[in-house]
């Protein structure tokens, strides 16, 4: 791979360049040295529309607004632009515009938020148009120079050809002229059957620097004169900082300042982070823990269990027929209660941000899944206006939803504000990261299924009790108090729709919001809903005396896309042929993030407590596949995330605090536990689904259903660690 394909280097050049011409960007697109209506990148190369810069040597720089955190969107988004641009892929590089630049240009790059598996699917339309617009302008510039109609010209691989005469030129040669043209009012996108680059598993654009130590993550930022901060926030959520005795650590090596951060936290600023952390641990701190210190996992579980009772209020998320009446008069009933715990994202790189504050400027360097939210946090914490602030995004050492929040950005600015002119890097210890997550919400679920005399499922009551993410993080998105996202995977319609038809159905949510702050944890509400529903489907099949696959199929006639991925996975794992001696199978399906997924596992169990996962098969219909190699990696990674949570995860609460402190008490799967993952891609076209998350939903139920097949025992709570079940 060419060394010049490095988003890091190019982004830096762009930042410096646009800082120099920032005023020009802020007032419009005209720059004094560029002539009318030309915007230039750092090296003076012209923009052909906001998404594309073309250099004289034909290098194409593609702007990426979403964040790269390992999921591969940076490469996929570049493929989408390049497909329409008809440029030479080997000369493509990328750069991040900053949120400040985007705001100054009326959000020309759209949404920066990178979560909900939306990176590709919710920007594919306008980034492809960005590529197509640039292509039309480049062809027009060549046609103008040749004095021929643009309709007689075509572009491929960054070369423009006048078809009748055979004359050619390149993008680099006509870029200056193209940049001066008005963009076309509308452009036509290619028919998917004509795609050449979309659908190809091209190599990632960001790999080289990740193999030699050169990639810069937030924790690696170095600025001249920079100091380092370590922080401790009140370990009981909602508690406050009462006092601290900074005299005790004032003489410790490297200590520069002790800073109260808001009402709840204290930070030590020192020459090195190791000095800051060492001094922070020696700092006597008194907390005002408040009433939340009385909360425990047991008290939360008791409160949630009350919500499972039908006499408690609940929001209805999906309904047809009269489930309660049908259950009351049914020939046979099956009932089960499941639960799912808090989970920490545990990104490999703990939270961090570097801030430089002066009286008239505040800049932050950090990994963030939402550049614009980080930007808003900088504005709020600094008290400075938008044209005095900016956020410089760097590579994320994992996100998984955690870095969509901006608590660590706000803290860094508050600390830097106490030391104007000195850049300060705030890095959380792993222990702080474990104690102050934005956790996967905690829930319980009571399910009741009812059969007629012929073992047909006539009713299903799915009653959730537990935490709402939106209530805590986006209350404006609640609908008359109801959290519609709570029904991800069991919803009536939309991007996470239920895949079964049951004549009498009631899906409802009794909202219970404990004090532990919830967050969007990769897979979000699909994770527990898929475990509850798909494990219970197996229980229903057992009660009906039917094969789990056949039982599901009979309920899925009206859901052909759900059914197609289930069939694909069943075929790949060989469901209808016997498993090897001592090996047992489980199967599951769900829809999430606009994609249809199914999973099947082959496991063996020793002594009822040691699970060996031999094979995992996953099938996915995301509509269109942009980069199959990256989709496969997202699917394999989803199993690691989902099975780590199933076996080892789970955060418990004691005295109002999270008990797990590091990877010794919150373990994660290793390579020896990794099953072979076989992916079947069944893209049916016509829609755009996300792939970073949905497969997590089927990982656990596929294994749990296989565990039942092997042992005859149902497991209805997570993690397996708490039941002394582990990997073999």
């Amino acid at each position: 791979m060419n060394k010049h394909i490095s988003p890091r280097l190019n982004r830096r050049a762009f930042v410096i360049g646009t800082a120099a011409v920032g005023a020009g960007l802020a007032i419009g697109l005209d720059l004094p040295f560029g002539g009318p209506a030309v915007v230039r990148a750092a090296d003076g190369s012209p923009e052909i529309g906001a998404w594309v810069v073309v250099r004289p040597d034909d290098t194409v720089v593609i702007r990426i607004a979403r964040s790269e955190m390992g999921q591969g969107s940076l490469t996929g988004l570049a493929q989408l632009v390049a497909e329409e641009l008809e440029c030479d892929w080997t000369k493509v590089t990328t750069e991040y515009p900053t949120p400040g630049q985007s705001v100054a240009r009326k959000r020309v790059w759209g949404d920066f938020s990178t979560g909900g598996s939306r990176g590709i699917r919710s920007s594919q339309d306008y980034v492809r148009k960005g590529g197509a617009t640039a292509r039309v302008m480049l062809i027009q510039a060549a046609a103008d120079a040749w004095k021929v109609p643009a309709s007689e010209c075509a572009a491929a691989n960054s070369v423009i050809t006048h078809t009748p005469s055979g004359k050619t030129t390149t993008y680099g040669k006509v870029a200056e002229a193209a940049a001066k043209l008005s963009p076309p009012a509308d452009v036509k996108l290619k028919d998917p059957k004509d795609w050449k680059l979309i659908g190809k598993g091209v190599k990632r654009l960001d790999t080289v620097d990740k193999t030699n130590g050169a990639m810069i993550y937030g924790a690696d930022i170095k600025l001249p004169g920079m100091l380092n901060a370590a922080i401790k926030d009140c370990p009981v959520f909602g508690g406050k900082l009462k006092s601290f005795d900074e005299a005790k650590i004032a003489s410790m090596k490297g200590v520069k300042k002790v800073v109260k951060v808001g009402d709840t936290a204290v930070a030590v600023v020192a020459d090195t982070w190791w000095h800051a952390k060492t001094a922070l641990e020696a700092l006597p701190i008194v907390w005002d823990e408040g009433d939340n210190a009385k909360v425990s996992s047991e008290s939360i579980a008791k409160w949630l269990a009350e919500g499972l009772n039908n006499d408690q209020p609940a929001y209805v998320g999906n309904k047809n027929g009269d489930a309660k009446a049908a259950i009351a008069s049914a020939a046979k009933k099956v009932e089960a209660i499941y639960s799912y715990p808090y989970q920490n994202h545990a990104t490999m790189e703990p939270m961090n941000a570097t801030a430089l504050y002066t009286a008239d400027k505040c800049e932050v360097w950090c990994g963030t899944q939402n550049g614009e939210a980080a930007f808003a946090a900088v504005l709020e914490a600094s008290g400075l206006p938008a044209d005095k602030c900016d956020v410089h995004k760097v590579m994320l050492g994992g996100g998984f939803g955690r870095r969509g929040q901006t608590d660590y950005v706000r803290q860094a600015v508050m600390i830097a504000k106490e030391m104007p002119g000195t850049p300060v890097k705030l890095l959380w210890s792993r222990e702080e990261d474990m104690a102050h997550g934005r956790y996967h919400p905690i829930t319980q679920c009571k399910m009741t299924g009812a059969f007629d005399a012929n073992n047909n499922l006539v009713a299903l009551h799915y009653r959730l009790s537990g935490q709402s993410i939106l209530f805590s993080l986006r209350p404006e998105a609640l609908q008359n108090g109801m959290d519609p996202a709570a029904f991800q995977g069991v919803a009536q319609s939309g991007e996470a729709a239920f895949g079964y038809s049951v004549p009498n159905l009631l899906v409802e949510h009794a909202m219970r919001n404990p004090h532990v702050p919830p967050g969007f944890w990769r897979g979000v509400n699909v994770n527990h809903n898929a475990i509850y529903m798909e494990c219970f489907m197996d229980e229903l099949a057992q009660a009906a005396g039917q094969d789990p696959l056949e039982f599901r199929r009979k309920l899925m006639g009206n859901h052909p896309k759900h059914l197609a991925v289930l069939n694909a996975v069943a075929e790949k794992i060989g469901w209808t042929t016997p498993a090897p001696q001592g090996v047992y199978r489980g199967i599951a399906q769900v829809m999430g993030y606009g994609s249809y997924v199914a999973g099947a596992a082959e496991i063996s169990v020793t002594d009822g407590s040691k699970i060996k996962v031999h094979r995992i098969v996953a099938s996915t219909d995301p509509g269109y596949v942009v980069n199959p190699a990256q989709v496969e990696r997202q699917i394999a990674g989803s199993f690691v995330y989902g099975l780590s949570a199933l076996f080892y995860g789970g955060c418990t609460v004691k005295d109002g605090k999270i008990e797990q402190t590091n990877f010794d008490t919150y373990n994660s799967m290793r390579i020896n536990e990794m099953p072979k993952v076989e992916s079947v891609m069944v893209p049916s076209g016509g829609f755009w689904g996300g792939v970073g998350e949905p497969t997590i939903g089927v990982a656990a139920p596929a294994v749990l259903n296989a565990y039942f097949a092997a042992t005859g025992k149902r497991i209805r709570s997570v993690p397996l660690r708490d039941q002394n079940i582990t990997f073999a």
């Binding site: 791979m1 955190m69 390992g70 999921q71 591969g72 190599k203 990632r204 960001d206 790999t207 080289v208 620097d209 990740k210 193999t211 030699n212 130590g213 050169a214 990639m215 810069i216 993550y217 924790a219 690696d220 170095k222 380092n228 090596k253 090195t272 982070w273 190791w274 545990a346 990104t347 490999m348 790189e349 703990p350 590579m395 994320l396 050492g397 994992g398 996100g399 890095l427 210890s429 792993r430 190699a629 990696r633 394999a636 990674g637 989803s638 199993f639 690691v640 995330y641 780590s644 590091n662 990877f663 010794d664 994660s668 799967m669 290793r670 390579i671 020896n672 990794m674 072979k676 993952v677």
Partner: protein, 149 residues
């Protein structure tokens, strides 16, 4: 003050002897390719070679490392010639977020120098690094590709 030999170069660093080697490498020597993940020798993100042995640098003090040959991810290549593990990682697009990969690559390089043709069992035993993105399948395939070259 401590003298550390990192990637063939001697660094004289103003650092207390009980400082974890990880932080001396990152903050005093300025080599940030070696990552902090847990600080308790669990995750392996900070893996370096000490006298060729894969070692979690957060669990080794500067005084223990003095006088020994330390190699970090920045020193794995020989000049412009990449180490075969780096080559395989690039060829097979192993990293996702990449944060754990410095440590992963150092652990794999040490395994291969000891056992050029490791079995799956050898890999399972030697590679215990955490990767939250879940690159294990690609890691295993890349190791076997190198071994069969």
């Amino acid at each position: 003050m401590a003298n550390l030999t990192i990637n063939g170069k001697t660094f004289t660093l103003d650092v207390e002897p009980d400082t974890p080697l990880l932080w001396a490498i990152r903050e005093n020597a300025g080599l940030t390719g070696t990552k902090y993940g847990c600080g308790i020798a669990q995750c392996g993100a900070c893996t370096v070679h000490i006298e060729g042995v894969a070692t979690r640098s957060c669990g080794v003090s500067v005084s223990e490392a003095e006088g020994k040959k330390i190699t970090t991810i920045e020193g794995l290549a020989s000049g412009d010639t990449l180490h075969k593990v780096q080559e395989a990682w690039i060829a097979q697009d192993v990293p996702q977020c990449g944060y754990c990969q410095s440590g992963m690559i150092m652990a794999v390089a040490a395994l291969l120098s000891e056992k050029p043709k490791p079995t799956d069992a050898d890999i399972d035993e030697a590679i215990t690094n955490i990767c939250r993105c879940g690159t294990f399948q690609q890691v295993r395939e890349a190791i076997h590709t190198i071994a069969s070259a």
